[in-house]
Amino acid sequence: MFRRRDRAARAPVSLRRSFVTPEGIDLRLELASAGTRASAFMIDLLIMTGALILATVLIGLLGIAGARGEIVMILWLVGAFVLRNGWFTLFEMGGRGATPGKRLLGLRVIARDGGRLTGGAVIARNALREVELFLPLSFLGMQATQDAADGFLILFALSWTGIFLFFPLFNRDRLRVGDLLGGTWVVNNVRATLGADLVADRARHERRSFSDAALDLYGIYELQTLEDVLRKGQPDAVATVAATIRRKAGMADDGDDQDFLSDYYAALCARLERGMLVGRRREDKFAAAPPKRSA
């Protein structure tokens, strides 16, 4: 479990970005991945298409029934325009800074400079969708209608527009061309729940004691991995980890893996925290163990 892997291979590109509040605290925001953003966009697109189809059917029915065909027609024309250009802009200018699709996936648009998201930024980032999406689409449509006579030209046009379409994949911050121009980021903004206090639970019970040698095996990185294992509570993971620790610490199997790990976690946490408070932060098991305390 605690086998060392290449750190670079584990996290190829970090999506954490420094974002300092006026109070001087770095919130370390996490940027949304390209996949999540594409999904959010597809959801929005589905809702928009659905709304348009629904409105068209309704208007068709009304148009047959009523004499007010013209008003209905105008409503459709203007409605389609507002839907195409206003859906993203109006939702993102609202207090939530997210379209329904983004909200569903826990995303939010923010200004990169930490300021408030202005209307200008939102309009800029969404007007650029015309180039990013509708331009490639229109060239695709052109290819469908025309023969292969202009095939080379269309191929060129498609690859040119493809630059805009796949722009987010080619930069560190997953910026669309629109984000670049609007000065915006799309970040994860989900609600987290506070997990139970693993140590406090154990403090009230009788617990196993561990030797210094056993507690010197691991550092903070391993401790937090152990925390994940305990919180997830998958039996086979717990069994594997418990067996590994017992083997390394030379302890006998007492048959209760979950309790054993909880106790070990509490003891290790207390020890590492004590070290940290006096300035000895042990990042992982490869860092030097703290010197032995004098008896």
């Binding site: 509040t21 006026p22 605290i25 919130l27 370390r28 925001l29 013209e70 008003i71 027609m73 024309l77 389609a80 325009f81 250009n85 207090g95 800074g97 923010i110 990169r112 998201l117 202005t118 209307g119 200008g120 930024a121 939102v122 309009i123 800029a124 007007a127 650029l128 015309e130 180039v131 670049l180 121009l181 609007g182 000065g183 903004n189 609600r191 987290a192 506070l194 997990g195 206090d197 140590v199 406090a200 154990r202 009230r204 009788e206 617990r207 196993r208 004691s209 561990f210 937090q224 925390e227 919180r231 302890m251 006998a252 007492d254 509490a266 946490c269 590492l272 925290e273 940290m276 408070l277």
Partner: protein, 344 residues
């Protein structure tokens, strides 16, 4: 080695536990308030909660920095990070009310954004006029140019082979079917889409925007020459001016906005390239919102005004008055202390 020890009943093993016990109630309250604000709005909160909000937010921030330094409980740090981020967006990220934003947009944002584009606007005007002159000259020297400049679908029978009577009918005739308002709506949505497109294309170092503007001028010039040769020049300009003064102005502004972005990307000056693009993009986008509104007015003038007003002088009057109105709105001096206010 596996002996069991019994800890003192009320002494937590680690600081994180004490820390949690001391502050968990505050975090929980902030969490509940922020959730309510996210679901509804800040107006959903009673007064004492609003007063408590900044204090709770700051205490959560301070908890976060303490937790990062002293606690190894990752769940705690993650929770506080998320809580602070959500609270930050609710406190700092929420824009003004829609009404105030609208007020600022019409009062300052829009005209100031257009003003800031004056250099690009002049350049775009020059390109359009150059295109217009070139189109006129080309068709005047060789009428066959007309067919190359104007696609058949757009000409709609208005070509050098048509008689003066046919051409006259296109200027003064009534729209068939009488769906004036629909026509206006169609014109508005279509033109706006093209304008937004021209703006967005500006990002590609303005080249496509320039081409669009010159081509727009070319078609105008070619058409003008066609009508002028049949002695209908005055009437054609009137037919065009009633909505064209607004529409062409809007298209020129859209081109200028695109050009602003393109030049900022190509020549960022002392700023970093992305920084220059952001500054230009935000300001030009505000002008673009105005362009869409202008095109709405133009669509109404073209779809309804032009069909119902048949008198040349009236058409000129309306068109020039609209132009004067726009110019006054954009370029008349404003109070200087408003200038530094960022656009809405």
């Amino acid at each position: 080695m596996n002996a069991l020890v019994h800890g003192p009943a009320d002494a937590p093993l680690v600081n994180a536990s004490r820390f949690r016990a001391a502050h968990e109630a505050e975090w929980d309250r902030l969490d509940r308030l922020v959730t309510r604000m996210e679901k509804r709005s800040v107006r959903a909160l009673p007064e004492e909660d609003i007063l408590a909000l900044p204090l709770l937010y700051r205490s959560a921030l301070s908890s976060l920095s303490v937790a990062r330094e002293t606690s190894l409980d990752r769940s705690l740090v993650t929770y506080l990070e998320q809580l602070c981020t959500r609270a930050y967006f609710q406190l700092y990220g929420v824009p003004d009310s829609a009404l105030r934003q609208m007020g600022r947009f019409f009062g300052q944002g829009w005209p100031l954004a257009v003003q800031a584009l004056w250099r690009e606007t002049l350049a775009c005007l020059f390109l359009t006029v150059a295109g217009l002159l070139a189109g006129y000259w080309l068709v005047a020297t060789d009428p066959s140019w007309y067919y190359s400049i104007i696609p058949d679908a757009m000409a709609g029978g208005r070509d050098p082979a048509a008689s003066a009577e046919t051409l006259r009918a296109t200027i003064y005739g009534q729209q068939k079917g009488g769906m004036l308002a629909t026509f206006a709506a169609y014109l508005f949505t279509h033109n706006s889409q093209v304008a937004i497109f021209a703006f967005a294309l500006g990002f590609a170092f303005t080249v496509p925007t320039v081409l669009l503007l010159v081509y727009n001028g070319l078609t105008l010039g070619a058409m003008l020459c066609l009508f002028a040769q049949k002695g209908l020049g005055f009437g054609f300009i009137g037919w065009l001016t009633i909505h064209g003064s607004t529409e062409m102005f809007a298209i020129i502004l859209a081109g200028a906005a695109g050009m602003k972005i393109g030049t900022a990307v190509a020549f960022p000056g002392r700023r970093a390239r992305t920084e220059a693009a952001v500054l230009a993009g935000r300001e030009a986008a505000v002008a673009m919102a105005g362009v869409v509104l202008m095109l709405m007015v133009a669509g109404l003038l073209e779809g309804i005004g032009r069909q119902t007003v048949q008198d040349d002088l009236m058409r000129y009057g309306i068109g020039l008055a609209a132009l004067a109105g726009w110019l006054a709105y954009y370029y008349l001096p404003r109070r200087s202390e408003d200038r530094h206010v960022p656009a809405a």
